[in-house]
């Protein structure tokens, strides 16, 4: 029997077991007494776990590492939380978007009453068993669709193996979602983008949430002595039917078999400083657009990342950087669509933030994606519409944030948190050029975006 099919069958069986166990546990939820649901669970202020929001402090990382089960709070409310993004928002681009920024919206200066709303289960499922979750479902009010969102259900246990060793298992739907640092794709800056502006990253490597919510993964991780972190996982794409039901989407890719994910990080800490350096990646064999009979594409992503945080009461500073290189062997895409046989894509992201009293923050970020030119993937008529057939996009993101309730919300609802932000993105290059990138006179700077938003969670 083919080796791949054997592994696939074993993993399908494993997923079925985990799925059944998870469902059984969710039915018998223990009350989380003792997200804002995490604040209710621990009785602590948001700033204890978060630097600004949603970046994690060392304590927040340990909370996640240990399965979202730390308790201490006195709330009897279930571990549910609601988040509203862009409530309201204002988006202005330097050059208007002909035809409207999105259906039901104008070409520029768009005011949005609500960009998206999410409901979360966030917290312990069973503290005794060491099982907890971060599970999200989102209504996109611009795309007018409801879909499941980032989900991470994990079991964790701590023991001693020459030093404290925490190990765990996660069932999740997005490679790098399980990571503890804000330098890997799922949890990195920017934490919010306008849905009424051109895509800030018009093309991405596979591991940069390209398959978020289209896959289901089982990961195992361990952290030794709060210093060394290692994780491996295997992801499979959802069946077409399941994908349609959960995401409402149709033509997605399918993996052949299981796509492995790996992550290794070192985290030395001293005084008020926390530093991390690491590597991560994934590899997948892909049926593009679920078209069978032409073999598969194969993509391998290798990433390197680092993070530094210096956190005090009054002043907090952090820096995150990551660089991902992707090799694409496009046997199937070439046969089906005449793409190149081989492409490369690289993604660099760096940002630094400063927060005063965990309330007033400023962030500066730089992003750069560059890679092989390919007319079929990036040329005229594609979503990038590049006259140069190039994905290359470079720019800066600036953001100023006001988080009034990081130390506790109003008396009427102490777990309310809110971020009011002003974000400005400057493009020095877009889809291959600084000027006239689409052959119709649009410059990269026409996509410069000003985004004013309110973001609340309760």
């Amino acid at each position: 029997m083919n080796h791949c099919v054997r592994i696939g069958a074993k993993l399908r069986h494993a997923f079925a077991i985990v799925g059944a166990v998870t469902a059984a546990l969710l039915v018998g939820i223990a009350s989380a007494d003792a997200l804002p649901s995490y604040a209710r669970q621990t009785g602590q202020q948001c700033a204890a776990c978060h630097n600004g929001f949603p970046e994690l402090t060392p304590y927040g990382r340990l909370f996640k590492l240990n399965g979202y089960t730390f308790g201490g709070g006195q709330s009897d409310l279930p571990a549910l939380a609601v988040m509203l993004q862009g409530v309201p928002s204002f988006t202005r681009t330097e050059g208007s978007q002909a035809g409207g920024a999105a259906p039901h919206y104008g070409p520029n200066n768009n005011f949005g009453a609500l960009q998206s709303g999410s409901i979360f289960y966030g917290g312990a499922i069973s503290s005794d068993l060491g099982i907890g979750a971060f599970a999200q479902a989102t209504y996109d009010n611009v795309g007018r669709s409801f879909a499941w969102d980032n989900t991470d259900i994990r079991w964790a246990k701590s023991t001693t193996l020459g030093g404290e060793t925490v190990f765990g298992v996660s069932l999740n739907n997005n490679p790098s979602l399980t990571d503890l640092w804000n330098s890997t794709p799922a949890w990195r800056f920017p934490f919010i983008n306008s849905a009424l502006a051109p895509a800030q990253q018009p093309t991405a490597t596979m591991i940069e949430s390209t398959y978020a919510q289209q896959v289901l993964g089982l990961n195992a991780y361990a952290m030794w002595n709060r210093l060394v972190y290692a994780e491996i996982g295997g992801y499979k794409t959802l069946s077409q039917g399941t994908d349609n039901a959960l995401n409402g989407s149709t033509s997605t890719d399918a993996f052949q078999g299981v796509a492995p994910y790996w992550r290794l990080a070192l985290q030395p800490q001293w005084g008020r400083s926390s530093f991390e350096i690491g590597t991560f990646g994934m590899a997948a064999s892909i049926y593009p657009g679920r078209v069978y009979g032409f073999g598969t594409d194969h993509k391998t992503d290798i990433g390197f990342d680092a993070q530094y945080q210096f956190l005090t009461d009054q002043h907090s500073a952090s820096l995150q950087a990551s660089w991902i290189t992707e090799n694409q062997s496009l046997d199937a895409s070439q046969a089906i669509n005449s793409t190149n046989s081989n492409n490369h894509l690289r993604s660099l992201n760096i940002k630094t933030s400063y927060y005063y009293e965990q309330t007033y923050g400023a962030t500066l970020g730089y992003f750069r994606i560059d890679g092989s030119g390919d007319p079929v993937l990036y040329g005229p008529g594609t979503s990038l519409n590049s006259a140069n057939n190039s994905p290359n996009t470079t720019g800066w993101i600036m953001e100023a944030d006001y988080i009034p309730f990081n130390h506790g919300g109003p008396d009427i609802w102490p777990w309310l948190n809110m971020k009011i932000g002003l974000q400005y993105i400057i493009y020095t290059k877009y889809a291959g050029a600084a000027t006239n990138y689409d052959g119709n006179g649009r410059n990269a700077s026409d996509n410069n975006t000003l985004f004013l938003f309110d973001w609340i969670a309760f």
């Binding site: 003792a34 009785g43 195992a220 295997g234 005084g271």
Partner: protein
């Protein structure tokens, strides 16, 4: 491993042994389940110490000065502080941010077990600081400041800052934590009549000096 002819060439490197990659950590997990000393015979205390350690460090030897070292702290002092966090009578800013939540559900029995654990850990050795600061701090610590009614700290906290009963160990504690508590006492952000009287007449420089000295003990 022989190349299988039905796979395209691109697949050659793409078959890591997923089964073993997941099985190996699981095997380690099962092997590890019975290793390591529990921190307490009481499983509630054992689990709670694990949570405490996320801020206070493994064995109470905290790295970050925001969170005090608990290793070798006086048993009765730990009990008093945890109860004060639980009933909110200790209300300095960090107490509110971190400890009110942590202590809210603690029973007296768990509090006692936590105090047993931390008081029996080996204290962290002192950290030397600027010699001039330490010398000035030593004078205040051992002699007090007579003309401003600042008593010698050693009178209650002991020559080596080890504390006794419900009077805390200061020796080896994070300097900036000690300084922060003296400021909190002086301003009554942390309510304690005796320590308020002892610290209200200290200048910021003298607080800095005393903290440097006790941190070195």
């Amino acid at each position: 491993m022989a190349l299988r002819p039905d796979r395209p060439n691109g697949m050659r490197q793409s078959r890591p042994r997923i089964g073993w990659a997941i099985a190996l950590p699981v095997v380690l997990v099962l092997a590890a389940c019975n290793s390591g000393e529990p921190r307490s015979a009481d499983p509630v205390v054992d689990g709670t110490v694990h949570v405490c350690s996320s801020c206070h460090g493994l064995d109470g030897r905290s790295i970050n000065p925001t969170f005090p070292r608990l290793a070798g702290q006086q048993h009765d002092y730990i009990v008093a502080q945890l109860k004060a966090f639980r009933d909110h009578t200790r209300a300095d800013p960090h107490a509110h941010t971190y400890m009110w939540g942590m202590a809210a559900e603690l029973t007296d029995k768990t509090i006692d077990g936590l105090a047993d654990y931390y008081s029996s850990q080996t204290p962290v050795a002192g950290t030397l600081s600027d010699p001039a600061l330490m010398a000035a701090g030593k004078t205040i610590f051992t002699e007090g400041i007579a003309d401003r009614q600042v008593p010698a700290c050693a009178g209650c906290h002991g020559e080596k800052g080890a504390g006794v009963g419900s009077i805390p160990r200061l020796g080896g504690q994070h300097q900036s934590y000690i300084a922060e508590q003296l400021v909190n006492f002086a301003s009554m952000a942390r309510a304690n009549e005796i320590m308020h009287d002892n610290s209200k007449n200290l200048t910021p420089e003298e607080i800095h000096q005393v903290a440097a000295y006790v941190g070195s003990l």
